[in-house]
């Protein structure tokens, strides 16, 4: 088996192709080949969630997803959320406003999972929302304001007043 393989995929809306090492993770490909450094490495074995990206709209830990599996997929990273004019998306704005960011290292992964949750269009209960966010570890925030940021955005999208 050849050690390298040509991969075609869409990253943040742009079609790309690249020779990748068949042993490389999607994290490695996104960071090293495309300089998408929002994709963070906290454990590299799928425990912490820092490397989370969306693959065809579904959140995955990119550290345990091989780069070669990305063939034909649509991949979205945090870099893709910023509008072309540099405007933050609603979920990013909520993270900023709710003081949900401290060291910032787990934030890209958390926000991408939040995007997956919000894009379902469902209004989840607090318990459901906590369960959906539980694949991410954070040591700075106690998850308190992260939870608020996601919940606030969810309620805003439904045009509902929020009661924390």
């Amino acid at each position: 088996m050849s050690q390298y393989k040509l991969i075609h995929c869409t990253i943040n809306g742009k079609e790309v192709e690249k020779m990748v090492d068949v042993r490389a993770s999607l994290t490695d490909m996104l960071r090293d080949d495309y300089h998408l450094t929002s994709v963070k490495k906290g454990c590299e074995v799928g425990e912490c969630g820092a490397c989370n990206v969306l693959i065809d709209g579904e959140a995955f830990n990119s550290c345990i997803y091989l780069a070669v599996w990305a063939e034909g997929k649509h991949i979205e990273t945090l870099e893709g959320l910023l509008s072309p004019e540099g405007e933050l998306s609603d979920i990013q704005r909520s993270f900023v406003e709710e003081t949900a960011i401290q060291c910032g290292f787990c934030i890209p992964g958390f926000i991408m999972t939040a995007v997956e949750i919000l894009n379902t269009g469902k209004l989840y209960t607090d318990d459901q929302l906590r369960r959906l966010l539980s694949g991410h570890l954070c040591r700075c925030t106690g998850y308190e304001n992260i939870f608020r940021a996601v919940k606030k955005t969810m309620y805003r999208r439904h045009g509902k007043p929020i009661d924390f």
Partner: protein
């Protein structure tokens, strides 16, 4: 308008929300060589030989270096400021790589390779021959005669012993009718678990060594790298970019010296050393496991007559921060619940475990677990309500500590407890929960703590900074105190805006990245010092800058310096308040004046010779499922007095994070070691139970804002305090629910099963049936 006291958005929030913020690995130069460490797979012994032949033969491997190649220099790793007094310098007890292996995971060799795969293969190909020795992982066993010895200079493995004597303990306990509560309390080894693992890279530039590191303490690292390599300190330049959390682990010299030495071994080429999560758990630093023996003598009216406290601190293999941690823990007892007769002894003991260093709270989470458990047990022993018992005995208003100069200026403890009790509805719930008798029982508990803000007078407290007036009237600000996630840069921006007289904290450009060649010297992020100590130097430098601005304004406006002020970015005349000119106009005029050009800047150092008590408490409410041995935390509140809040939203966020760490300490976190081999068993984020969002209820952060009189901004410690009192409050709530006092944390289902069985709350029917 005030710039401090407002919940402003963090200065780094936008970049962090967009993933632009650059951490060390995001700045990695292309082509950096990979360093991988060969960690020992025995707990104690000597390396006899390292066979490197197979590793060297792997394509891509550039160099293999072993413990037989390193400079014969012992160096210290504690992130303490240098002391000019040799007696106060940190213990130097390790080398870059060690022939004498002192714990499972010690560093014995490195492979440097062109890529990660080759480096990992190289490490696996190394054949290390050991002479194995018996090992010891328990602190008290390590003190026994005949125990394995870790360091020749420290007989019985005792790194240090200190004591406190007050009054006459032996005479006091002769008083007839005293009640004695004599108990042991034990705390576990835990790890910081910042989400960014430690890492760094190093290269040579014009004959000097540059290290870019994920550290809290760049200026201290520079000195330590110089020491370890035997190079002049000024030969070393440390650059600290944004870091993904530290919590004290990165307040230690980790692998910066090894990385710096490796670059010198490959002709100055860039080398990178990235710790894996598993290495972070075992081969960085951990929190000291401290065991306490507390004997408290009480009168029936709740008066504490005498106390004896013995503390045994498990240092692990190397000194790191060493005795400072348990000394701080022990020192908390006589001040927290002052009594006239005390005998306290603290021992720091080497064992064959990972080296323990600084971790958020620096001995206080351990002390608080023991002290607040014992106080609860004392109240129960005399049938007194523990809240009343605390109110009677806790450090009173006016209490003064002569050593630090700290004074308890307010009745803070009682104010904090009252606020916490009101939030959680303490009195009503206590009565209601007392009726629970079934399988599921509810309980409520509390605990308090105090914390020193800075480290004066134990160590030097110094803070320097620089302010540059920019052409648009904004101010660029640089200081040695570091942003590690807590929001320090934002607090500085608010304080600078207030002290200089700018319109907004957004008019302050904080240079977050420290470079020891450029940044004014500061000590970094540790203790809970930064906002407090930076406050002194910010006020001082701002005064210098203001004086220069107004002096120049005098030339332009012909108004007397004393008649002018700087308010909201304008120079005004004080008497009538008219705006004479904006800071932007002044900056442009001063810079481009063909007769008298001046770039207006200021820089100063302030030596802080003050310290401040910070206070607080936790109330926790639990539901205990007795047959399932399961605790659910239903409600928790922390109340803090950290003086005036510079940024209330950031302060609350800081409290949430500390509470989360405290909850993990109380209920789930523990690094476990194999008794037979000394091997750590759960050094990964799957088996080490870090709290997830499902493990917390809402975290309530509340404050009592009693301004700290010694601080120019009325502020004091908040960074570490939130972690201190959570675990004992949870322990006391479980005691309140079940009547079972559990004297070691974490209180997980394994522990509860054993304790509930012992207490007869559950019967082991399954085993009975087996018979």
């Amino acid at each position: 308008m005030n710039k401090v006291g407002r919940s402003e958005i963090r200065v780094d929030a936008f970049d962090k929300a967009t993933g632009r913020t650059k951490y060390y690995e995001d700045r990695m130069p292309a082509g950096a060589l990979y360093i991988r460490i060969k960690h020992a797979e025995i707990a104690h012994g000597f390396v006899r030989r390292v066979d490197t032949a197979a590793a060297v033969a792997i394509p891509g491997v550039v160099k293999v270096l072993t413990c037989f190649d390193v400079p014969e220099i012992d160096f210290p790793t504690a992130g303490h400021p240098w002391s000019m007094d040799p007696g106060h310098q940190d213990v130097a007890d390790r080398r870059l790589l060690n022939r004498h292996v002192r714990y499972w995971g010690d560093d014995v060799a490195v492979v440097i390779a062109e890529n990660e795969v080759a480096a990992n293969q190289g490490v696996r190909a190394l054949k290390v021959e050991y002479e194995e020795l018996p090992f010891v992982i328990d602190a008290q066993k390590a003190m026994e005669p005949g125990a394995p010895q870790l360091h020749e200079r420290f007989p019985n493995n005792i790194l240090k012993h200190t004591d406190i004597r007050k009054g006459d303990y032996q005479a006091a306990i002769q008083e007839p009718g005293l009640i004695c509560v004599d108990k042991w309390y034990d705390t576990p080894t835990v790890q910081h678990c910042h989400i960014e693992n430690f890492g760094c890279y190093a290269y040579e530039e014009n004959g000097r060594i540059v290290v870019v590191s994920s550290t809290q303490i760049p200026h201290i690292i520079r000195r330590a790298v110089g020491q370890a390599l035997g190079r002049p300190w000024a030969d070393i330049e440390i650059i600290k970019p944004y870091i993904g959390g530290g919590f004290g682990n990165k307040q230690d010299v980790l692998y910066e010296p090894l990385c710096a030495w490796c670059t010198t071994q490959v002709g100055g080429r860039c080398v990178r050393l990235d710790c894996a999560r598993e290495e972070t758990f075992v081969s960085n630093r951990v929190r000291h496991a401290i065991r306490f023996h507390i004997i408290t003598w009480l009168r029936r009216d709740g008066t504490i007559v005498a106390r004896k406290v013995d503390c045994f601190s498990n240092q692990g293999a190397y000194a790191s921060h060493g005795h400072s941690i348990v000394a701080k823990a022990m020192g908390s007892f006589p001040q927290h619940y002052p009594c006239d007769n005390m005998e306290c002894d603290a021992y720091t003991v080497y064992t064959n475990r990972p080296a323990a260093g600084a971790m958020r709270g620096y001995g206080m989470p351990q002390a608080s677990f023991a002290d607040e458990s014992n106080i609860e047990d004392c109240a129960r022993a005399i049938g007194m309500d523990s809240y009343e018992f605390r109110k009677k005995n806790v450090m009173p208003r006016g209490f003064h500590d002569a050593f630090t100069g700290n004074t308890n200026y307010y009745d803070t403890y009682r104010e904090c407890m009252a606020k916490g009790a009101a939030y959680i509805d303490f009195e009503r719930k206590k009565k209601e929960f007392a009726n629970d008798t079934g399988d599921i029982r509810r309980g409520i508990g509390l605990a308090t703590f105090w914390y020193n803000t800075a480290v004066y007078p134990i160590s030097l407290e110094t803070s320097s900074n620089r302010m540059l007036l920019n052409l648009d009237g904004t101010v660029t600000f640089q200081c040695g105190e570091t942003e590690i996630g807590q929001g320090a840069d934002t607090a500085y921006a608010q304080m600078v805006a207030e002290a200089v007289g700018l319109a907004s904290y957004r008019d302050v450009r904080v240079k977050s990245c420290q470079d020891t060649d450029i940044t004014p010297t500061g000590l970094g992020a540790y203790a809970s010092r930064q906002t407090y100590v930076a406050g002194f130097s910010i006020r001082q430098t701002a005064d210098i800058l203001r004086e220069k601005i107004l002096k120049y304004a005098n030339e332009v406006t012909r108004q007397a310096v004393g008649c002018m002020d700087i308010v909201d970015g304008n120079i005004i005349r004080k008497e009538d308040g008219i705006i004479l000119m904006s800071l932007k106009e002044l900056a442009m005029t001063a810079q481009y004046n063909p007769v008298h050009s001046e770039h207006i800047t200021a820089e100063s150092t302030y030596t802080i010779r003050n310290n401040a008590f910070s206070f607080g408490c936790t109330f926790a409410e639990v539901e205990v499922d007795i047959p399932m041995c399961k605790v659910t935390l239903k409600n928790i509140v922390n109340v803090h007095d950290c003086g005036r809040l510079i940024n209330p939203a950031l302060a609350a966020a800081q409290v949430h994070g500390g509470m989360s760490m405290g909850i993990g300490y109380g209920l789930s976190e523990q690094l476990i070691f194999d008794e037979k081999t000394g091997k750590p068993l759960n050094g990964n984020l799957l088996d080490y139970k870090l709290s997830t969002i499902l493990d917390h209820p809402h975290l309530e952060a509340e404050f009592i804002e009693n301004p700290e009189p010694t601080s120019p901004f009325g502020t004091k410690a908040l960074g570490e305090p939130p972690v201190c009192s959570c675990a004992p409050a949870i322990r006391n709530a479980i005691l309140n629910a079940t009547g079972v006092a559990i004297d070691h944390n974490p209180i997980n289902p394994h522990v509860l099963f054993a304790e509930f069985s012992k207490a007869g709350l559950i019967q082991d029917d399954w085993r009975e049936e087996e018979k």
